[in-house]
Amino acid sequence: MFYSMLIFIFLIVLVEGRQTVKNKAWKELTLITAITLIAVFYACDYYYNLNFMPNFNYLLHKLQPAAKSLEIFFAF
């Protein structure tokens, strides 16, 4: 995960970052940075096993009772 993060950061800076700064497209640059930062936080969280980022899994697990109810409702 760590190396894939480095590869992506390198590619994003090389391919998109330079061109965006050159074109002075600040809105695009802000969005690219925001998306990359979110991905970096999740990658670090996964790599170091920190569990500080919100996990989408919790929502899915909270819906388990609803899934059970659906299964019972259609058990005929």
Binding site: S4, I12, T36, Y42, A43, H61, F74
Partner: protein
């Protein structure tokens, strides 16, 4: 250069997406019996969603679905619905990448999951960079060989076809309906992803029916596939199998030549990779439309990185996904994918009942 697609090519993309998304998985297989009936019922809901998106696009030519949403529902409500739709696209993209890697892990057992994901995402990024016109041409090239291979794969299953595995029919109607809901959720209504490339279709009004034709061909093949898989494996194995179609083909043997399933690797690879490519492209286009950015290419690599990390983070294992997450994802993706076009369509019909929409003809 202005990018464009033809209705025929869009139909091919839908065909490849539907096959790639569920050909080997048979998502409704957990019900065991009458899987093909569930698949048939599920396809009707997918057809409804497809029809809504095409109708909306015909009502607002040249506008993307997120602009249509804001025009029909107002800026605030439109933005809220667009956010939900964008999150569902991200979820579908994560799932598609995860499913592809789970399948590839069976064949490439010693390669780490992260490495497979990295190779796939970098590959799809390269394809998305090539543009939408190139995607259409690639679909032109791939569709017919895929169709031939698919028919061939069904034909080689005929020696395993056992009619007793198909009866009794309609013994548990409730289970069939449950399977239909799950079958509709994956893959049929996931074609909502295609709504983001519809503004690029230049002959939608004249040749739009070709999109429906290819949807129906794909749905028909998936129903036949479900029938063959159930008849070959039987309901008990079907219920617990992770990749029923793949398992069925693995049972086929020609004298000493065993691993017949590897002959169809080109089929599995081409259809599943087109699914990951389309979901990555849809996510990129969704971000472009949401933030009103001129060039979508700036999002390709960051989005690929985000999909990869979230997929690794949220879906850590195949076993956990099967036990806990598979049956709950439906509560997020199904309502959004069905209600999003329905609400926009109703609002658009109500708002523009008397006032005709200006035809801008411009591609966002």
């Amino acid at each position: 250069m202005q990018e464009s697609l033809y209705s025929r090519q869009t139909g091919y993309l839908i065909f490849l997406y539907l096959l790639g998304s569920s050909l080997i998985y048979v998502p409704e297989s957990f019900i065991g019996r009458d899987v093909w009936i569930s698949s048939f019922l599920g396809s009707i809901l997918g057809l409804y969603v497809l029809h809504l998106f095409i109708s909306l696009q015909k009502m607002f030519p040249g506008q993307n679905i997120m602009q249509i949403s804001k025009l029909s529902l107002g800026t605030f409500t439109g933005t809220v619905l667009n956010t939900a739709f964008l999150l569902v696209i991200l979820l579908i993209a994560m799932l598609n990448l995860f499913e592809m890697v789970v399948f590839l892990s069976i064949i490439y057992q010693h390669i780490p999951r992260i490495f497979l994901m990295l190779v796939i995402v970098l590959g799809t990024s390269l394809v998305v960079y090539a543009g939408i016109t190139a995607a259409g041409r690639t679909a032109d090239l791939f569709t017919w060989p895929v169709l031939v291979f698919l028919i061939l794969s069904l034909l080689i299953l005929t020696p395993l076809f056992q009619f007793p595995n198909l009866v009794p029919i309609l013994s548990q109607p409730g289970r069939i309906l449950l399977g239909a809901i799950y079958g509709a959720n994956w893959p049929y209504i996931q074609i909502s992803l295609i709504s983001l490339i519809l503004p690029y279709v230049v002959d939608l009004r004249e040749e739009g029916k070709k999109i429906y034709h290819w949807y129906l061909i794909a749905a028909g093949l998936l129903i036949i596939r479900a029938l063959f898989v159930q008849a070959s494996l039987g309901p008990n194995i079907l219920e617990i199998s992770r990749f029923p179609f793949y398992d069925a083909i693995r049972l086929v043997q020609f004298s000493n030549f065993q691993r017949v399933e590897l002959f169809f690797f080109i089929l599995f690879w081409s259809v599943t990779s087109s699914v990951v490519i389309l979901s990555h492209r849809s996510m990129v286009l969704g971000l472009q439309n949401f933030f009103a950015i001129h060039d979508y290419r700036v999002f390709i690599l960051p989005t690929g990185f985000l999909i990869l990390t979230l997929s690794m983070y949220t879906l850590p294992s195949s076993l956990q996904f099967n036990l806990k997450e598979f049956n709950t994802i439906i509560f997020l993706t199904l309502p959004v994918n069905v209600l999003y076009p329905t609400v926009i369509f109703l609002a658009a019909r109500w708002r523009y009942k008397t006032t005709p929409v200006q035809k801008t003809g411009s591609i966002p």
